[in-house]
Symmetry: C2
Subunit: 418 residues, 2 copies
């Protein structure tokens, strides 16, 4: 077994150049990327990625949902590969780093190992998952979910975009309807490098987030119904103003989240007055609630507190209240051994780091259902993502790729998983 | 001079039958009326009204904006007429009483005086004002405003509806482009009977509202701007959530109104999140504020308090705040002598009554600018108006017409105005 080379580093300049080279596929005037999944631009970057992997000596394959795999054989072909990667599709006004960093840092890991002439025990597998973003086809993260058995391939192939084009048609159009059955590839572990898409690392001047897991999410649709009445003729004490009920609920939701600080977050992202008019007391308000926490018990407690607050407010203000939970996703804890491996690599490389929870969903959260998984975060400016102004520094991208490299090396050369 | 006949009463059954006879013009399946101003249905009810006035021996005229006048001569032709009336147009899903009651009770007053053979000193003038509602052409109350000199006739004639039809064209279409110059009729006083369109009289089990004036109104457009961010990745303490700012402002507005109880009312009737999404922290919220009070000083104080609250909230929550006053209408105090006359009539008739402020705008508020004016309110069920379910009892309508009758008699037979 080759001892890990602790002084090994990726070529940060090459990584940075690669990021900006591929940003031309779907590049926007504002400096972002518009590369919807399975679009012509996505086809172009896939071709580039395939060619780059082939040039790096990797064995390239594509599955029936278009997910691209690039294998670097190990000494022990019987061991399942250590996989890493992310996605090359973007939001319609996306940035240069979301997903892209994870795939291209993976390519840089392969190239750096080649340059150093290092062979690993387990094979390494670089993955570009189809349709992580979900902007064109629902659901988001569809290929990794199908890989993990959450959807059938036929189901996903039949999904259609707003123009009525199916996933199957879009794959055929760009030539990425692959031969491999979805989920056929054994995966020994999966590690995903990604920008944080949040403000914590930047605010704390840290370089690496050691991601412990993905939050649980509960989504609610709610309605508060009072009585629509004339803004001029209805005294304050006779009103049944639905907007004032929502105002109290929004502030209660904030208090409830803060009571479960620092992990819980609660957001009312949509609030619509039915038949709004500047001189009519709002009679009905429809709203959404997004509740997240890494602990299932906290999701339960916060939901109960939200319902209690809503009931109290509605009773006092003589409103009818409805709150329906339309979706709940359990928290995804990442594999402790992999999380430790990420933390060890960050520490060995001397990068300031902290453990962190992923607020957003990622392909790694789906993979966690079938294999040990973990993630590495690097900061992005102002926490902004899904935006053409998305930005990360070359130094942080390089640091993330170095942590990915050493995590992958430790896993591929470590003891076989049980 | 004929002494007032204190035992004189209108014919409540005839009034009620008339209300329901005219409700057929634009009557809706739900029992309401759809009689937009200058529509075919409005033309039909105008024809009916003209014929009914002619049958009652009145001298009928129409001005250049279609307002119908029906004169009952008095003994002293040199005195300006005591005018009363309201409007026969309705909202697109309007009720049977808003406006209609004031015109048809005025007709009933004329008929009752005819039946009793009573001649008044001053002439009496029944008016059906064009376009009180404003649903088809803006502004609302346009004919009475033009009569009071707030708009030129040419200006109003050029206003167009959503289909591009001008007031002039609509008048010609139904044959109501009259010969009389707008504002030419001298008016010695104006009294308008109307349903309250609010809940106060019903709640206090009173029959008559002695209206002291119309509220002042201030309208504002506002914006709160924070920062749009990911609902999953943005910790609560790093958010700049515009909706939470609005929530605090809405509750502050309620407190400010209550601090000026019972007269002040403040309503946030429109609130729109820009680019709403259930998993995005709201970055921008646009809203309206409707502030009303009968006292100009209270409008000033409440506006200052609203601005202070908004500044405090925005500062604490790191939001940008804008608040622009887009309209202000000064309070309209009605003429004390006329208000006393209404109150005296209600008392003499034995109807339980209270002084009240009109929360909505009415033609009488425009007339107050050029003549002594006052209003009489009767209750409507649940305070509902501008709705097909609008409802008032025959007893209350009769009581209101009786108060109108005796108020008009007192004014027409009383001393000349100075």
């Amino acid at each position: 077994m080759t001892p890990p080379r602790h002084n090994l580093r990726v070529d940060g300049s090459r990584l940075w150049a690669t990021i900006h080279e591929t940003a031309a596929f779907g590049g926007t005037p504002a400096g972002g990327i518009n590369r919807l999944t399975l679009s012509r631009e996505d086809g172009a970057v896939r071709d580039w990625f395939r060619d780059a992997c082939l040039a790096a000596g990797l064995e390239v394959g594509t599955d029936a949902l278009g997910t691209q795999f690039a294998l670097r054989p190990g000494r022990d072909g019987a061991r399942p590969p250590i996989a890493f990667g992310s996605h090359l599709d973007t939001q319609p006004t996306g940035g240069r780093f979301d997903g892209v960093l994870g795939v291209l840092a993976g390519l840089e890991v392969m190239r750096s190992l080649n340059d150093a002439g290092i062979e690993t025990e387990a094979p390494l597998l670089l993955v570009n998952w189809t349709n992580e973003e979900g902007s064109r086809f629902a659901p988001a993260m569809m290929a990794s979910a199908a890989h993990a058995g959450e959807f059938t391939t036929a189901d996903i192939l039949s999904r259609r975009d707003a123009a009525g084009i199916s996933v199957a048609e879009a794959l055929a159009e760009i030539g990425y309807a692959g031969e491999e059955p979805v989920g056929a590839r054994a995966i020994g572990a999966f590690v995903e490098l990604h920008i944080e898409q949040g403000p914590i690392l930047e605010a704390e001047a840290l370089t690496i987030g050691v991601v412990e897991g993905g939050q649980g999410i509960a989504w609610f649709d709610g309605t508060l119904t009072g009585f629509e009445s004339h803004a001029g003729t209805t005294p304050m004490n006779r009103r049944r103003d639905a907007l004032l009920g929502l105002a109290e609920l929004a502030l209660a939701a904030e208090r409830i989240a803060l009571a479960h600080a620092p992990s819980a977050v609660i957001t009312i992202g949509e609030a619509v007055i039915a038949a709004p008019s500047r001189n009519v007391v709002p009679g009905t308000v429809r709203f959404t609630i997004d509740l997240r926490d890494p602990q299932a018990a906290t999701l339960d407690a916060a939901e109960a507190e939200l319902r209690a607050a809503l009931g109290e407010i509605a009773g006092r203000r003589r409103l009818e209240a409805e709150l329906t939970r339309i979706w709940r996703k359990a928290p995804v804890p990442f594999d402790p051994r992999l999380v430790d491996a990420v933390e060890t690599a960050a520490g060995a490389l001397g990068h300031p780091h902290r453990r962190i929870i992923s607020g957003a969903g990622h392909d790694a959260c789906n993979l966690a259902g079938i294999a040990p998984a973990a993630m590495i975060f690097v900061p992005c400016r102002d926490g902004i993502s899904h935006n053409e102004t998305e930005s990360a520094t070359p130094e942080d991208c390089t640091a993330g790729a170095d942590v990915l490299l050493h995590t992958v090396l430790a896993l591929a050369n470590g003891p076989k998983s049980e």
